[in-house]
Amino acid sequence: MKLLLHFKTLITGVFILIASGAFSVQATEAGNDQTEKKGDITAIEYLQLMQTAYKNLNYEILYLNNLKNTVEPKQLLHGVINQEEIAYFRYLNGAMRESLQYLQKISYFEQGSQPYTLQSSRNQSVFANIANFDYEKGLASYEYIILGKGRIAGKTAMAIRMMSKDQYRYSYIVWIDLDTHLPLRLDTIDNSNIILDQIMVVSLKVSEQINPWLESLSSQTLPELFNISQTANLKASLWKVDWLPAGFNVVKDDQHKLVMYENEPVSYIMLNDGIVSVSIYISAKKTTLAQQQKTIQRGATVLYTDQKNNFEINVIGEIPVATAKRLIDSISMVE
């Protein structure tokens, strides 16, 4: 009996300990919030600082891309030469796959195939989407919330949540280095807070001067420019999307051929909200869909297929399936 009593006191003791632990965590979090307010840096300001840093600093990052159960280590070198950004990217494991972006051109080098260059004015590097986003405009569709401090790649980072205001887009959590303001981690999360895609920096080096090797790359002769407009048809598609999720605009509307698949003609519409781009393909119905999957999802990217009368519509992009469905429902032929 005495033993039991002893045991009881022990248990209550443990409870008290746990409870006090929880309280102290809350207290420190509240403390963090206050210091942030004192420092006068709001969530949106952090995000904007991150944008400037990502574009203007000379840095080298090693990062991992977590998708489902696969982890892909990659490297990014970034520098600025005469106010022009230069970015070199490569996969660290497996076959050599590299790219170099400089002066509105991006060149791809892959082991075993001929290198080539594409005209590309947008930054294609890993955090480019969040680094190019107009956060003021984004206030219409996202809420920015400071979550608190964390530690990524050995550095203290501020976690900021970009929470979608509706269910038609994903939310993000961005970790920003407090020193350099470079992004250190990006999680793409769905409505139920499941991480769909994760990019995590494991090593970050920032330098005053541009990496000399990167500088030497800038004067390298590039592989032959591959011109896509030859194959693209500039006629508008004969289709329109009557419903767009808030913040999305039509950025492309054309008819072209799928060079990679029997030159099949497709009508094409591209939507963009500043962070994600969604492609809509409308083509003639070829097979009945009955035995096929309608949804293919990998990480945040979804490929949703549906058929209407004699047409097949494919929607591809980093959006929830519900958005893809609603987009397809709203597609109609231009009168």
Partner: protein
């Protein structure tokens, strides 16, 4: 011939003994081989295979066959049909194939590794589902293996084409992302 096989099978099972057939069996090499095979099949089914029959190694034969194949064989793929039809315009064909390659790479390097995984994981999933369906719908023993295989092959072909098309769409999407205004 089928009759003879049936009789052989019966002998193996100790169900039927025909003096004439046994005499025949003693001189005919083909039938001896067949007899051997039936016994082996029976042994395997009963799980009695312990001797040298169990160790038959076909890998050597397969390797020998592979070595016999012309070395260029695996290269014959996409452009093959056009190439054989119009050998004169070889230059065109090459540049076209090259273009295919280039488009494909544009996507594969694009940063998102969507494609590889879709291509590798998706067909197996589809195959599995087809396989399961077959298992479920056909009662054991009552199946006609030939027609079954035919339908399975056909749908696999369909699935393959479907996947190729989806892959092409994903590639095109990647390419559009690269060249987005």
């Amino acid at each position: 011939m089928k009759d003879v096989n049936e009789q052989l099978s019966a002998i193996v099972d100790n169900e039927f003994i025909d003096q004439k057939l046994i005499d025949d069996l003693l001189i005919n090499k083909d039938k001896q081989d067949q007899f051997c095979r039936y016994h082996l099949i029976g042994d395997v089914m009963r799980g009695d295979v312990t001797d040298q029959f169990a160790n038959f190694d076909i890998s050597q034969q397969v390797m020998a066959e592979i070595k016999k194949q012309p070395i260029t064989a695996p290269v014959v793929e996409l452009g093959a049909s056009t190439e054989t039809v119009t050998p004169a315009s070889e230059n065109n064909v090459i540049s076209f194939v090259k273009r295919f390659g280039q488009y494909a790479i544009a996507a594969s390097v694009a940063g998102v590794v969507v494609l590889a995984s879709l291509v590798t994981s998706e067909p197996s999933f589809e195959n599995n589902s087809v396989g399961l369906e077959v298992l479920k719908t056909v009662p054991l023993g009552a199946a006609n293996p030939v027609s079954l295989q035919a339908t399975k092959k056909q749908s696999q072909q369909e699935i393959k084409e479907h996947n190729e098309r989806l892959e092409a769409l994903l590639n095109d999407h990647q390419l559009k992302l690269q060249t987005q205004p």
